[in-house]
């Protein structure tokens, strides 16, 4: 069997075979990708796809880590798109290579080398191998990880030989210097420069300090000395500060405090109709506080400038999500040609969105510019990671819907007996209600402050320099790219009229940016809680209620499979015998066009919410590497549970104060639920053809939080509309 793959965005920008594959003289194949290993195992998945398509052992394929010198430009590694973008491009390239291999009657890929024109475009008409890949080899990078080998950027320059730096421009005397930044509080602040000389004079021997406008940093031969010098300057320097708005519960008031709001109709479909007297109107407001990324390894970077010439080369080592966007903004920040800059990706700790990686790369490059030819390493502290990297914005969602009894949903006729059985008895027998209207309003700051998108640099520290680069207002990416705050705001349920209004808060002194699933987390939490509320009010089973308002067969299949797996009705009934236990469900199709995912959570509510079990069923189209996808879905569910139960950023009048784990608790081992994941077959519609593969990394974020909130309601009858579901918020909701 073979199949024609859907076009990959990455192939359009990088159409040549040589941009993706290099055939080595020893018969192995090197694969190039612009996507970055963020701990999600993507390089392994890409390698498996290539080996499969080329029909060679996995060991004969190596993946070149992303580098701006030789990698295809694939923008960001974000949005659960790597399998669609890079994966499909690599498969197409490999399918073409495999065809050439045959055509030239090669016995080894080394022979293909001689036949290959470097300008040969990839033939998109060559079918790929197809049939669900479902490759089972485990990640072979785990061996180095469990051995504690120095594979992280955090180890570079310490345990890892700096030879690559030495070879970069020939004879360079490598002297690794450790850098630390010194900052005032808030989004932007102004250094009181009259104290500068005095502070400099107080520095100990062996440390140097540098200043550009209000940006200050130190360099020293050891981390200890650099830290000491930085804390000394921190004590001595004073700043004029822009105060932060009062923080109540992770930003619950920001919607009233924002200096400006940009309101837009994001989506409208169907006919606004007049509702009858029998219609019932529902309305509810939900809130998700500002969150931290909370990457376990604070960001780090290394940088070296070739010389003190204006057009000097710069090399940067970074665990960024996008080597090319980072390069673009470094070029803007330092006024050099992007071609002069090389960004080498190296693995960092798990990354779930826009963390401090790009910012610290700027810091390292800025400090290194003062010492050309010397390599500078900047390691952020935990406090810096929490304070300086962007927050995921606080979000408020208001939902309004009208349910009308006379309205016959178009999917009603198509129900099978099985579906009807799954439904609540009363419902099938008595009414045929449907949504006449559905309105979703979302308030949030923008969900992207990423580099590579504006005319001025996106690095927070670059805004402190004399050049006076403007503070960038966070944006929401376009609907076609999955949207930002509006992601998943369009309901999956049938309604005669649907309207989504997006209200972007402007001018708030917080840098907000992308965190795993962006707006989908709050929007799905709201939508799925709302569905649960309406189902309850109508006396209907929440699973059956969802099924009757869905038309997409894959969505229906995912929910029905989940209901069967958890034995939904019986298990839910059994909960009534256990005090404080409840079962809840949440569903979403990520980005409304990605992976389908339904989640059931089982909770035990004591003085707090304890999540005991989570079941996930997902349809991610063609399955490339089942265990990798399961691992992503499972990890996403646990992270979402942590957001739902515990997390909210906080700040005082000057600065973010949730800077340590005790001030920003996340889920620990004693609190982690058991998670079962089931993947639907790649041809879930029972057709011959496979559905395109879809990313799995972010699909569980929204449904899991919603499932937990719904389970809490089922357990104790308390509807928590404000996250996180802490004992405080639970008590507040109980009194509401």
């Amino acid at each position: 069997m073979s199949q024609l793959l859907p076009p990959s965005v990455s192939l359009k920008t990088n159409p040549l075979l040589a941009q993706w594959l290099r055939f080595e003289s020893n018969g192995t194949v090197t694969v190039f990708t612009g996507k970055a290993e963020l701990g999600q195992g993507i390089l392994h998945a890409l390698k498996l796809m290539a080996a499969h398509e080329l029909a060679v052992p996995v060991a004969s394929v190596q993946i070149e880590t992303a580098n701006t010198k030789h990698s295809p430009d694939e923008g960001m590694t974000s949005g659960s798109l790597s399998v669609q973008d890079s994966g499909l491009a690599i498969r197409q390239a490999c399918a073409h290579a495999a065809q050439l291999f045959k055509a030239h009657a090669c016995t080894s890929y080394a022979e293909l080398l001689a036949h290959l024109n470097p300008a040969l475009p990839i033939d998109l008409a060559v079918p790929t191998k197809s049939t669900a890949l479902n490759l089972i080899d485990g990640r072979n990078d785990l061996e180095a990880l469990v051995r504690g080998e120095p594979v992280f950027l955090h180890d570079l320059g310490i345990n890892v030989d700096l030879t690559p730096i030495k070879n970069n421009w020939g004879q360079i005397n490598i002297n690794l210097l450790h850098g630390r930044m010194v900052r005032g509080p808030g989004l932007r602040c102004t250094l009181q420069v009259d104290g500068w000389l005095e502070a400099l004079a107080a520095l100990q021997e062996g440390a140097q300090a540098f200043r550009d406008g209000s940006l200050v940093g130190v360099l020293a031969g050891t981390e200890e000395l650099a830290e000491k010098a930085a804390s000394k300057l921190q004590r001595l320097l004073k700043w004029d500060v822009e105060s932060l708005p009062v923080c109540r519960e992770g930003g619950v008031d920001l919607f009233e405090l924002a200096p400006a709001i940009d309101s837009q109709v994001f989506h409208e479909s169907g006919q606004a109709i007049e509702v009858g007297k029998d219609a019932k109107v529902y309305e509810a407001v939900y809130f998700r506080p500002a969150l931290h990324h909370g990457s376990m390894g604070p960001s780090v970077a290394l940088a070296i400038w070739e010389s003190d010439q204006a057009n000097s080369g710069l090399k940067v080592w970074s665990h960024t999500q996008g080597i090319f966007p980072l390069r673009k903004d470094l070029a803007l920040a330092f006024g050099v040609d992007a071609q002069q800059i090389e960004v080498q990706h190296m693995r960092g700790a798990g990354c779930y969105g826009h963390n401090g990686a790009d910012d610290v790369a700027y810091d390292a490059a800025w400090l290194a510019r003062h010492v050309p030819g010397q390599c500078v390493r900047v390691q952020w502290t935990r406090e810096e990671e929490m304070q300086q990297s962007p927050l995921a914005p606080a979000m408020r969602v208001k939902l309004q819907a009208t349910v009308q009894a006379t309205f016959v949903s178009s999917d009603q006729q198509s129900l099978t007996d099985q579906e009807k059985n799954l439904m609540h008895k009363n419902q099938v027998a008595s009414t045929r209600t449907g949504f006449a209207t559905w309105q979703h309003d979302v308030w949030s700051q923008g969900h992207s402050s990423r580099p590579g998108r504006a005319a001025t640099p996106a690095f927070k520290d670059s805004w402190q320099t004399e050049t006076n680069f403007p503070v960038l207002e966070p944006i929401n990416v376009a609907a076609a790219a999955g949207a930002g705050a509006e992601r998943n705001a369009v309901p999956p349920y049938v309604s005669q009229h649907v309207k989504v209004n997006a209200h972007r808060l402007l001018g708030l002194p917080f840098r907000t940016s992308a965190l795993r699933s962006l707006g989908a987390h709050a929007n799905v939490f709201a939508c799925e809680s709302f569905m649960d509320e309406i189902a309850y009010d109508q006396g209907l089973d929440p699973v059956a209620f969802r099924l009757r308002h869905l038309e997409d067969l894959r969505a229906i299949a995912v929910i029905k499979t989940l209901a069967t797996q958890v034995n939904w009705l019986a298990r839910r009934q059994s909960m009534s015998e256990k005090e404080g236990w409840g079962l809840g469900m949440g569903y979403a199709r990520y980005k409304s066009k990605g992976a389908y995912c339904a989640v059931v959570a089982e909770v035990e509510v004591t003085h707090q919410v304890n999540v005991r079990n989570v079941w996930v069923v997902a349809d991610i189209g063609e399955v490339i590497h089942a265990d990798g996808a399961i691992s992503q879905l499972e990890g996403g569910a646990i992270q979402s549970a942590s957001w739902a139960l515990k997390e909210q950023a906080h700040w005082d009048s000057e600065n973010i104060t949730s800077t340590q784990w005790d001030a920003y608790p996340i889920l620990r081992f004693s609190e982690v639920p058991d998670v079962q994941v089931h993947l639907m077959p790649g041809n879930s519609e029972n057709s011959e053809a496979l559905n395109s593969p879809l990313g799995a990394g972010e699909a569980t974020q929204g449904p899991t939080t919603a499932a937990i909130a719904n389970a809490v309601f089922h357990a104790v009858g308390v509807r928590v509309r404000q996250l996180p579901m802490t004992p405080d918020n639970l008590a507040k909701a109980a009194l509401a």
Binding site: G39, L142, G148, Q379, F669
Partner: protein, 171 residues
């Protein structure tokens, strides 16, 4: 201010000159070049920097280097030393982590392995699922690999001849 300190690292007696202000973690990583133990928070709140200190799993990010004097320190790199009592447990755990694919980014994995090694090597014939959870409680994981880690520790425990009591799972 350099001072000379004596300690035992991964089974080897060493004497080294360190700065007074260095934390044990900085000395272990930057001076000894043993980078398996990682910096995560500097506040003893995440577990990434744990090492075996006289057979107990302890954080090193706030520990003064002086506190290592006269003590035995084992990091993940100790695996090559088969004389150490911890080594068979560490090796069993590492294979179980691979078998269960019990890591995503792997940044905090060293810490899990150190605490799990201490648990298994100090166990008295039987451990419980609850004890496994408790041993890992000082460790944070942001990727959500927890359940695979629990499974892997369980698997290694069985392989090391320990019995598992599953009566209680949650505290």
């Amino acid at each position: 201010m350099l001072q000379t300190l004596q300690m035992n690292v991964n089974g080897q007696a060493i004497s080294l000159k360190v700065r007074k202000e260095s934390t044990a973690l900085q000395t272990i990583r930057n001076q000894l070049g043993l980078t398996a133990s990682r910096y995560g928070c500097g506040q003893e709140q995440c577990g990434a920097c744990h090492v075996l200190l006289d057979g107990q799993s302890k954080p090193t990010c706030q520990l003064p280097t002086e506190a290592l004097v006269g003590r035995s320190i084992s990091t993940l790199e100790s695996k090559i030393n088969s004389d150490l009592p911890s080594t068979p447990y560490l090796i069993a755990l590492q294979s179980a982590f691979i078998a269960e694919q019990a890591a995503q980014c792997g940044y905090c994995t060293s810490g899990f392995l150190i605490s799990a090694t201490a648990l298994l090597m100090n166990a008295n014939g039987t451990i419980s699922d609850l004890q496994i959870r408790e041993a890992l409680e000082p460790h944070l994981c942001r990727c959500g690999a927890h359940n695979r880690v629990l499974k892997a520790v369980r698997k290694a425990a069985l392989q090391c001849g320990l019995k598992i009591n599953s009566a209680e799972v949650f505290p």
